[in-house]
């Protein structure tokens, strides 16, 4: 019988080894992902900067914020672990505390995520992919890195474009200087005479309500002479000199300076379709019926005025007390301001006797539905007497 070819065995061993070796980089990559370094560094930084840090409270592994209503998944805090910590303002990225704590109070990370303001690819867990500087991701992080290309001396705060997704309908918002400036220019220059702005305006030029939705391929760069082939630079170039970029354009030379052009371009790019953003996120929309000042005052009196006791114990459901400006919704029973007279007339009892030994409907109510302790009954009696005095005094005054 022929033995197995020795050559075959050697080749088999070679490929078996190659196959096994192939797994080294694969397992290696899994064993030490990028974020592990950043997380271990953070633990060191935390221990260095704070005395009583319990390392068990610092999470490990991929961290995720899932905002279902916004359709957003952000894994930024896998590396940016210091964002919500106080006291790490002077540490470098990615461990630093988020600047502007006043802003963060209104935009907490677990309600807004990170990408909704900053841009980037929240799903990713490696630096370049997460910051969006990869092929086929069109929304990079709107940070100084990009902004410096447009104005190296004072890079514009491009993320204001994202702020305006929600703050679009406000005339001016704190912290959005460039966008505010842009909005002011739009009002001053009366752009809505020729263009439809935010749904209203003229038709000499294109409808700009959703201009921010256009993709890069839809722009004509034939006459563009700048370095950067981007939508933002197209707009800046266009604002600076419309007829140069668009031949036969009706839009005249507006003589915008660079800063104006940048502000307007950012504003125009922020005009996207925000109909999917849940209403709670959009300022300026009241999700409740607005009460008149009188209604607000009446509510306050009911809750905090003299008759608060009777509101708390549900007496007012059947009884009004005009002395305390308490209006019952049903008025099934008589006004309690006159209870002392009433009780004497109907049952020939004093108020105290009636409260402690009620008859009729009140017997049922006080035995089953409104249970008052002895002290509470005395308090009720005292308050009713006071109400009675108030009413009687008023009658006296009227007379």
């Amino acid at each position: 019988m022929k033995l197995i070819n020795k050559n075959d065995v050697r080749i088999l061993l070679f490929f078996a080894v190659a196959y096994a070796l192939a797994f080294f980089p694969i397992f290696g990559k899994i064993a030490s992902p990028e974020w592990k370094y950043y997380q271990s560094e953070f633990r060191a930084i935390a221990t260095e900067n704070f005395d009583d840090v319990d390392l068990d409270t610092i999470p490990t592994g991929v961290q995720q914020i899932w905002l279902k209503e916004l359709g957003e998944v952000d894994r930024c805090m896998t590396c940016h672990q210091g964002v919500n910590w106080k006291g790490l303002e002077n540490i470098e990225q990615p461990w630093t505390t988020h600047p502007d704590p006043e802003l963060m109070k209104h935009h907490p990370v677990d309600e807004y995520g990170c990408v909704s303001c900053h841009g980037g690819q929240g799903l990713a867990v490696t630096q370049f992919a997460a910051h969006g500087f990869v092929k086929h991701w069109e929304e990079p992080i709107l940070s100084d890195i990009i902004a410096a290309d447009y104005d190296p001396r004072t890079p514009p705060s491009l993320h204001e474009i994202n702020c305006n997704q929600c703050h679009r309908h406000e005339r001016s918002t704190k912290g959005m200087d460039l966008i505010n400036h842009g909005k002011a220019l739009v009002r001053d220059k009366r752009c809505n005479v020729c263009h439809i702005i935010n749904g209203e305006g003229g038709r000499m030029g294109p409808n700009l309500t959703f201009e921010g939705e256009k993709s890069a391929e839809e722009y004509d760069f034939t006459n563009f002479t700048g370095q950067q082939l981007s939508i933002l630079s197209w707009h800046i170039s266009h604002f600076k000199s419309p007829p140069t970029l668009v031949t036969n354009s009706f839009m005249p030379e507006m003589n915008f300076q660079t800063r104006d052009a940048i502000a307007l371009s950012m504003l125009v790019m922020s005009w996207k379709d925000n109909s999917e953003i849940p209403r709670e996120y959009i300022p300026g929309i009241d999700l409740r019926e607005v009460q008149t000042p009188e209604e607000i005052e009446q509510d306050r009196i009911m809750r905090e005025g003299g008759g608060a006791f009777f509101v708390e114990h549900n007496c007012f459901v059947c009884h009004s007390i005009k002395a305390y400006q308490l209006k019952s919704p049903t008025d099934k029973g008589p006004d309690l301001s006159l209870a002392p007279d009433d009780v004497r007339a109907r049952f020939s009892l004093t108020l105290e006797e009636f409260i402690f030994a009620p008859t009729g409907t009140m017997k049922i109510i006080l035995e089953s539905q409104i249970l008052l302790s002895k002290e509470e009954k005395w308090e009720a009696i005292e308050k009713i007497n006071t109400a009675y005095d108030i009413v009687k005094n008023r009658e006296k005054e009227e007379l």
Partner: protein, 172 residues
Amino acid sequence: MSKKDEQVNKPRRSFLGMMTGGVLGVGALSTLWISVRSLVPNILYEPPRKFKIGLPETYQDGVSFIDEQRIYIMRDGNTFHAISGICTHLGCTLKFSPFSDEKEITVRNMSYASKGEFICPCHGSKFRDEGTNFAGPAPRPLLWFAVEIAPEDGQLTVDMAQEVDRDFRLVV
């Protein structure tokens, strides 16, 4: 069996055989038909072919792109028409490339002032702004769709189920 019996039974046997085959065939064909016909949809979850696109006042002179249905609305003063923005070759979305100056174009024995042309990024097909294909592999000119004013609110309404020829104009 006697020979006579065999001769009588042969036609009966083949008749029974044919009947069985026939019945099985009916069963098989039914199964096949069910399997195929069920895959042809009767109801589609697609946007309606007739839809409103806003009031005429909101459209600028020149070319506007309706992105959901991929059609171009052309306005010239008070005259409107709608052209498909889908290349007739293999379905890519066309880009409108305006001319710097109006060009005199002769198409189908008719001269008119052309403001630009449609270009397809996939294989370089080109169409005049009135839809005629003149370069690249595109086999047919672009479709024109009926446009009308909705009586209830005055909005422009495009009907992609109704193709019109290239002399169509809606005057508002």
